[in-house]
Amino acid sequence: MTDTRQFEAFMRNYQNMVFSTAMRLLASQPDAEDVSQEVFLRAYERFDQLRDSPTAGGWLKTVARNLSLNHLSRYRSRWSFFSELVGGGREENEEHEMEFPAGESGTEILDRAERRVLVEQALQKLPVAQRVPLVLFHFEDLSYEEIAAKLGISLGKVKTDIFRARETLRRQLRLQLTDEPI
């Protein structure tokens, strides 16, 4: 098998992971496609090292994450500003909750595939200042401190943004918790 063929097979193995990372951070398919393309072009340049490396997946994920964050950093000052300006969860109130028939919870009525689509949509609709820390925490397994360092924001802001993101998701998905706040 030629190098190009091997690389094509390698790419097919990892393309979903790379695309998912970019898509969840950027919430824009064209941007996520551009970032994924750039990730694989960089991977091709060092394919000799990555080909048999057990850490190839980790390398691709890190590059995808960093390129996505670089992409977002052009707008970072703007979204940091808005996030702090709006505060108090006002922006979540503008979001529309998912429609479920009365008397039935979302989990009961939707099968798993539909549920996944709804969660993905809810995730993508989150404001960027909430979505990015949430994705870094839950999908990239970064700690609060690492997220703060990566985004150049305070630890307190990371925790607040992640909490607001979870709250928004809970409301949109109508998650039932036993200890709901009054």
Partner: protein
């Protein structure tokens, strides 16, 4: 915020997000990447980045640039010597005036360092070097403090 509620919320959201799995990448990505790789491979060496040139060409181009630089400096000094012979040589030497001046500065500095080594004791030289190092570290430290103050997290 209620810590127990926060914990429940985290667990609930984690359960939802863990169930998501990976998104399916559009097949267009693979096509785009392979097309870009094909275009890069088909491009002639001089259209690629210098790092992607064949090793021989990299070495050759580097040696050529080095030779050109040496020739320029050497030529500038030689022209300066013959500048007085004819108006044409004077004119041409004027074009290389800057390179010649730079070379003169390097010569003067080299001579000064050589003189300092010869006439000053090693103690003075080491002391001077340490002083320079200290000044540099101070500048670096102050710069870091100012930068951190300016970009302190709110």
């Amino acid at each position: 915020m209620n810590a127990e509620y926060e914990k429940q919320l985290e667990v609930g959201i984690r359960r939802e997000l863990d169930a998501l799995g990976e998104l399916e990448a559009p097949p267009e990505i693979a096509r785009r990447v392979m097309r870009a790789i094909g275009q890069r491979a088909a491009a002639p060496w001089y259209r690629r980045a210098w790092q992607a040139w064949p090793l021989g060409l990299q070495a050759g181009s580097f040696a050529g640039l080095l030779a050109a630089f040496v020739f320029l400096c050497f030529g500038a000094t030689q022209l300066a010597r013959f500048a007085t012979l004819s108006p044409a040589a004077h004119e041409v030497s004027g074009w290389f005036g800057l390179a010649s001046a730079a070379l003169n500065v390097v010569n003067v500095l080299t001579n000064a360092v050589e003189l300092a080594f010869r006439n000053l004791g090693p103690t003075v030289l080491i002391g001077g070097a340490l002083l320079l190092l200290f000044c540099y570290a101070t500048c670096l430290g102050l710069g870091t403090i100012y930068w951190r103050l300016a970009y302190a997290r709110r």
